[in-house]
Structure formats: C-alpha cells, structure tokens
Amino acid sequence: MTESNYTKPLPTPTSDSLPFWEGCRRGQLVLQRCSRCGRFRFYPRATCPYCHDDKADWRPLSGKGVVYATTVVHRAPSSAFAPDVPYVVAIIELEEGARMMSNVLGCPPESVVTGMPVEVFFDSVAPEVTLPKFRPIANQS
C-alpha cells in the first residue's frame, strides 16, 4: 500500500545494493552468492564477509525463512512509527542462510515466535521504494 505521506526512514540504495532494491521493486528477493565459498550474504557488499573474495553473482531466493529473533515494539522510535504500535521487528533467517531485519505482518504481533516459518512479501511504501517484509506461511500445522 502506498502512503502519500510516508515519513518513515527510506533506504537510499548504493552501488552495492541497487540490484537488491531493484529486485524488491520487481517483487523478487535477490542476494549476492559468493563465487568462492558459495555463501549468500546480507547486507549487499563488494566483498564476502566470510571468505573475503570479491566475486559474487546475484541470485533469486525462495523468499522463505524462519524467525531467528523477534520483538514487539510498544514505544516507537519516532512519531512516524507511532501509529503502527504495537508492531513486530524481527530478524529473519532465510532458507539460504543469510539473515536480515524486517517486520512480520499478517498476524497478531504477540503470535510471532522464534522458529516460526515465514515468507517474504513486498510493500511499495513510496514511489521509488519497495520494502521486503514477512508474513507467516499459511497452512502450517
């Protein structure tokens, strides 16, 4: 949902991260996979933080992962986030191994627990910016 009055911090893509943000705008989660050690890395950067090699290629991810850590924010960091309180900020561990921070939506905030399987969806928050967010995977027993 695009808000006309979006006052939350927006990411400014860099030459490192442009393919990631362009992927989000297309509705696809893409990350760099190191050509030497094969690990996916987040956040995007020129060299592998694991083996330090500088060659990588961008690959699409499944978009699935699990909640590694979660918290429900009750006191927003700024007035821009106040209307959303309470909301989930979580660290998601993607299937492919990389971890990222995001929000988990589509369920009561208190129901989000460590280990919960989630999948990505894309939130077009501003004309040029789409943020990857997560929701519980449906039909989990």
Binding site: T71, R75, P77, M101
Partner: protein, 390 residues
C-alpha cells in the same frame, strides 16, 4: 605486579565526576570541564601536565574534532589526542589507548573525559528521536523497519530467553540489584528501592524489555587521569594499576551479529585475563555495561563468570549484590546511577577506582584488590575488558 604487557607500568591517578541526573543550565563541555577539574585536583596535577586528551564526542555538540575542540576549550595543546567512537566500550578502550600511548612515549599524562547533557539539552521525545536517528540501526537495512534502540537489545533478550529458558524475573533481578546499590550512592540519579514486581509492572518498551529494564536518560560527566607508574609514585593518591586489557568488535549492527547469545566479550575477556595472568575467581568486583538488563546476563556468561544460560538464576539468587559472589556495579550502574549517553561507561571506571582505593563508602566491598571493568557498545557489538588492581 609484574604481569603481561602492561606489567604494572600504567596507573590511573585521578578521577572526577559531576552529579548525574537532571542538570539544567549545563553544557556538554562544562560537564567535561567540571569532571576534569576534579580529576586533576584528585591527581595532584594541573592542566599544564596533561599532554594527551581522549574524548568520546557528544550527542549535542556537533564539533568535527571533538577532542581537539575540548583541548581548545581548556586552553591546552596536546601532542596526543583522539575522539573515540565505540559506543559503551569507548571509556575502557580510551584507557587501553592511553596505556599504549604512555607505554610508547607518545604521551605522559592522558586525560580521558566525557560528559553530556542528554536529558536537559533536549526534550525527552527529541532525545529518543535523536538517539534513533543517530544510529539506532543501519540507515538502509534496519531503520526503515522501525527499531528503537531498546528493540535491538530486545531481539537479543528474546532469543536468549527462547534458547535458555530465562524468565523476565531474571532480567528484572539485574535492575533490582542496581537500584539497591544506587540507594547507597548519594551521586546516583535513581535511589528508591525496586522490587522485581515493580520492574515487571513498568510499561513494556519492546518485548521482553520493560521501562525499568532500560537505563534512563541523564546529564553528567566524568574524567580520569592516566600516567606511568613511575610518575604515579610521586603523586598523592594510591595508584590504580592496569593489569590487563582486551578488545573485540564484531561490528555495529544487530542484524549482522554472528550469534545473538554469545558476544565478542568472550574474546575481549579472554585477552584481558590472559594478558594479566589472572583467573575469573581473582575478581573481587565487576563493573559491567548495563545499558539494558539483558546485557549484564550476557556479559556474565561471555566473560566466564557463569555458564551459558546460567546468569539469570545467578543474579536472581543475589550474585551481583555487595555481599554476593560477584559484587557488580556498586555505584548503581547505568540503570540507576544514570546514563548521559556517550559518558555512560565512564562512571563504571570511576567506581572501580573508588573500590580499589577503599573510598566507596557504604558501597565498599571489603578488600577489593582486583576489579574487572567491561564496556560494550552497539547491541553487544563492541567490547573492551580491563582488569584493574590496587
């Protein structure tokens, strides 16, 4: 002493501190200066003796070269100076830097000073907003999702509790003990005793952290004077010696933290104990960086005082109290003595000196000979461990 790299060669010879709390009509540099004047008087030295200056910057003053701006304010021309930036690890790291400068002859007398009027300098709302914009999280990959600073620690607390079964009462016990110590400290900001129920009844900031799991916002300043043991021998106070030090920094951002429940304090602590040639059971008093209650539990484990997952019960059973197995933050910590932001950890160092000199009054731990001081910044991302001895 005669151990390791520092080998009894480096001494803290003076400490000074302002009151902590609401100090309107002060400025950041005034707080630096008040603490500096007190520290120099304590050391029996003058500004003319100082040839090195280390500061930690300010959340309010936007100087480009803070330590140089402070030297300018004081009217001295140091031959060694830097503005350090490591979050809550900065003051321990400053002592580490001062020690290496003195050992290598870059400076003889180093002033470490820090002060800020984070409470009175801006409204509480603005302070919270400012702290968030100033780098609560990564501007591109974290801040768009709205984590306030407590959320970064809350994420760590959440995973820790999930993995080890720690309870909210374990975290609350840290806050209760800090307040107990602050009650004996006339300089502390918050002194009214707390119970575990009080902590759990306080509003949730970001689950599982309540308001009383988080340190307050304060005004205040502190300073220390570091010199060689040789120089210290001519000065009036009993020196406090640097026995060992270690640093380890995994980064800045919580989403890049390799392991949420084991921090690089494991490495900094091992280095400090190794360089001092000391074991954990030699520590009489600990000063741990308590911006949030969860940080204390993780430091207790990562520094080797408790096994993984065991710090909660240790604290709940009174382990950190003055008569406990590891008296900790005898001044009340950031949680109750106060947290002026950048200066937060300087008071842990100053209290360590008070304990080792036997001048901690009602908070004195009998026969305190070895004190560990640990500083940590980010969300358990930067770490510096010092061992100090009488």
């Amino acid at each position: 002493m005669g151990r390791g790299l520092f080998d009894g060669k480096i001494a803290i010879v003076g400490v000074g501190e302002t009151r902590v709390g609401a100090l309107p009509d002060t400025s950041s540099l005034q707080l630096h200066a008040e603490a500096t004047t007190a520290a120099l008087a304590d050391a029996g030295l003058g500004l003319a003796d100082v040839d090195g200056v280390l500061t930690a910057g300010s959340r309010l003053d936007g100087f480009l070269m803070h330590s140089a701006a402070y030297a300018e304010y004081l009217g001295i021309v140091p031959r060694y100076g830097a503005t350090l930036s490591l979050g809550g690890a900065v003051h321990c790291a400053a002592i580490h830097h001062a020690a290496t400068a003195i050992m290598t002859g870059l400076a003889n007398v180093v002033l470490v000073a820090s002060g800020d009027n984070l409470l009175s300098g801006m409204s509480r709302t603005k302070a919270v907003e400012h702290l968030s914009q100033a780098g609560a999280g990564h501007p591109e990959f974290e801040n768009p999702y709205g984590p306030p600073i407590p959320a970064l620690y809350a994420l760590i607390a959440s995973r820790y509790m999930h993995l080890y079964g720690a309870q909210p009462e374990h975290l609350a016990a840290v806050a209760v003990t800090m307040r107990e110590h602050a009650a004996r400290n006339p300089n502390a900001q918050y002194r009214k005793p707390l119970t575990v129920n009080d902590v759990l009844a306080s509003k949730i900031v970001s689950t599982p952290l309540h308001v009383l799991d988080c340190s307050p916002i304060s005004d205040g300043g502190g300073a220390l004077i570091v010199t060689s043991a040789k120089r210290a021998a001519d000065l009036p106070r009993h020196p406090v010696f640097l026995l060992g030090a270690g640093e380890s920094h995994t980064g800045e951002h919580v989403s890049a933290m390799p392991d949420f429940t084991s921090s690089a304090a494991q490495s900094s602590g091992a280095q400090a104990f190794g360089s001092a040639g000391l074991g954990r059971d030699s520590v009489d008093v600990a000063m741990l960086y308590d911006s949030f209650t969860i940080a204390v539990l993780l430091q207790l484990e990562d520094l080797g005082f408790c096994g993984k997952g065991e710090a909660g019960p240790f604290v709940a059973a009174g382990g950190l109290r003055l008569n406990g197995d590891l008296p900790t933050n005898t001044h009340g910590g950031c949680l109750s003595h106060g947290h002026p932001g950048k200066p937060g950890g300087i008071f842990h160092l100053i209290e360590a000196v008070h304990q080792l000199r036997g001048e901690a009054g009602q908070r004195q731990v009998p026969n305190a000979k070895i004190v560990l001081v640990h500083g940590s910044g980010g969300a358990l991302a930067t770490h510096c461990t010092l061992l100090l001895g009488a």
